[in-house]
């Protein structure tokens, strides 16, 4: 294969059902969603030549290749940083296709993250802080009772609340909006289960004064996969191609995904999201106003505020009023997390947000935004712009 620059596109998406108890192994979930992505694209799984997942994924690359009957794998890699890896997988797949190194890159993430183990419960095993995960500094939180992702996030979000006069009720509007989207998405765990702001305020405290239960993402079982190829080839495949216009990652000095206290800036800021936005807008020559829909990583509601600001949809401190004003609803300035997001659809570590963005660009989403030309997806430390190819 000659190494000529090629534009990249998402040609296929696949997923299992999203549940609280899948009843089968993570390896099987991985195989099922990967096969579904290949079938969606119309690509024979034996032709996969690149494979990408998260460092935190428990399934085995070679074992998955063996399940799928992959004939001659050229490239495998894994991305650190917890859920921040979600959009970085697209970035790396794009780079592999751009460089002419791979023709069919499979991305997958499979987890029994409710029935087999729980990210929301205190972790006290030293193995959780092993090198390679990109989250080693979390070990410095453990003796002090900050032992869950919700607590780590809140140490930053509480400063955001102080700085901009934001309350937990303000975060509640994000939760209500996403539950509204999920209520009309049959794939969502919270399908037909919208909530009111009062319901949000009545949900129990997880971390005072930042997060209540309904501010937090779910714990879910399920698998999600994508098939990335060249734009040129995608045009000859089964689905309308979704062009990866641009994608990037940004890890500024002293920044770490969620134990993000050691950079020199204000704790209220999310330096990696600002840096990702800067790099992405520079790379694509685009701006927030060019986007028709956005998927923003929502492990917790405050992250929506921070990313709306970092990507320039609003100025710092203005996200609360923007959300309260309905501007992330389907008819707002920028519809956000239209499947219900990780809070209301399922938590497959951000990858179900990518499949939703693909459906929005194809025009097949449950809550379809009218005439989507360009879509932004962010996992905080990585971002991408997708468009019809």
């Amino acid at each position: 294969m000659s190494r000529q620059f090629k534009e990249a596109a998402i040609a296929g998406i696949g997923q299992t059902e999203f549940s609280k108890s899948s009843g089968r192994s993570e390896q099987q979930l991985a195989a099922e969603c990967s096969l579904a992505a290949c079938q969606d694209a119309g690509v024979d799984p034996k032709d996969i030549d690149g494979m990408i997942t998260f460092t935190l994924d428990n399934t085995d690359d070679i074992h998955l290749a063996r399940c799928l009957g992959v004939e001659n794998l050229a490239y495998t890699t894994r991305i650190p940083g917890g859920g921040a890896a979600a959009v970085a997988t697209i970035y790396q797949a794009m780079a592999m296709v751009n460089a002419g190194l791979c023709e069919n890159v499979l991305i997958w993430r499979a987890m029994n993250e409710r029935s087999q183990y729980r990210f929301g419960q205190p972790i006290s095993m030293e193995s959780a802080f092993a090198p390679g995960s990109g989250t080693g500094s979390l070990s410095w939180c453990m003796p002090f009772g900050a032992q869950t992702p919700a607590s780590w996030e809140s140490l930053n979000a509480q400063r955001y609340m102080q700085k901009y006069g934001v309350t937990n009720e303000d975060f509640g509007y994000v939760s209500v909006q996403q539950r509204k989207y999920a209520s009309t998405n049959p794939n969502a765990w919270f399908y037909e289960k919208p909530i009111t702001l009062e319901d949000h305020q009545n949900s129990k405290w997880i971390i005072e004064p930042v997060l209540r239960m309904f501010d937090c993402c779910q714990e879910s079982d399920g698998g999600v996969a994508l098939l990335i190829t060249s734009l040129e080839r995608a045009r000859d495949l089964k689905q309308p191609p979704v062009h990866i216009v641009g994608a990037c990652q940004s890890i500024p000095n002293e920044v770490e995904v969620i134990s993000n206290y050691y950079h020199g800036g204000d704790l209220a800021d999310m330096p990696e999201a600002y840096a990702t936005a800067k790099r992405l807008w520079a790379q694509t020559g685009m701006k927030p106003a060019d986007m028709d829909v956005a998927m923003l990583y929502d492990a917790f509601t405050p992250q929506i505020f921070k990313q709306l600001e970092a990507f320039g949809f609003v100025k710092p401190g203005e996200a609360s009023d923007f959300v309260k004003d309905g501007q992330i609803d389907i008819d707002g300035q920028i519809p956000v997390n239209t499947n219900g997001g990780l809070i209301a659809e399922a938590y497959i570590h951000g990858m179900n947000s990518v499949t939703e963005m693909v459906r929005q660009v194809r025009g097949t989403a449950a809550n379809q935004v009218a005439d989507v030309q360009h879509a932004l997806i962010s996992s905080g430390m990585a971002g991408a712009v997708l468009a019809r190819g």
């Binding site: 929301g120 419960q121 205190p122 006290s124 030293e126 802080f129 080693g136 500094s137 070990s139 410095w140 939180c141 453990m142 003796p143 002090f144 009772g145 900050a146 032992q147 869950t148 919700a150 607590s151 809140s154 140490l155 930053n156 509480q158 400063r159 102080q162 129990k204 405290w205 997880i206 971390i207 005072e208 004064p209 930042v210 239960m213 000095n253 134990s259 206290y261 050691y262 704790l267």
Partner: protein
């Protein structure tokens, strides 16, 4: 010391080759940090190379133990391991200029304010270790109260 004091329940620190010096010092009630032997800059979390001058030589120095509160939270659910009641957890910026996550003790959660001055104390953990925690900075004339897990 209170003779009926309970056995410590707070989790012991997670020791790595790079962090052991810090926690060993804390158990001896010393609050220390790595400082570059060549350019004199503090660094935290600990690491084997100075990011400013790339020296691998370091000194372990005792700090003032004073700092200020940047943020503070109360983890309620699920209940943190090692605590009977939800602790107050905060990000402290030390006077030496680096940040550390710790507990804030001897003050009601509601009474804490941004950039409130604090000073180090030491709380016992399981496995006979101690960890640095922070309490409101006392006036020099005040007598220091003994520090225990729940105060």
């Amino acid at each position: 010391m209170n003779e009926t004091a309970k056995e410590p329940t707070q989790l012991a620190p997670i020791l790595t080759l790079e962090s052991k010096f810090f926690w060993d010092a804390a158990t001896k009630e010393q609050f220390v940090c790595e400082k570059c032997s060549d350019c004199g800059q503090f660094r935290f979390p600990p690491r084997p190379m100075c990011p400013h001058c790339h020296s691998v030589k370091r000194d372990i120095v005792e700090l003032s133990g004073k700092g200020k509160v940047l943020s503070w939270i109360k983890p309620v659910h699920p209940k943190p391991i090692g605590f009977d009641e939800p602790p107050t957890v905060g990000v402290i910026e030390t006077d030496e200029g680096f940040r550390i996550v710790s507990n804030i003790i001897d003050i009601a959660y509601e009474d804490i304010t941004f950039e409130m001055p604090v000073e180090v104390a030491f709380a016992p953990t399981v496995k006979n270790k101690k960890v640095p925690v922070f309490r409101p900075l006392s006036n020099e004339n005040d007598s220091l109260s003994p520090v225990g897990g729940e105060g």
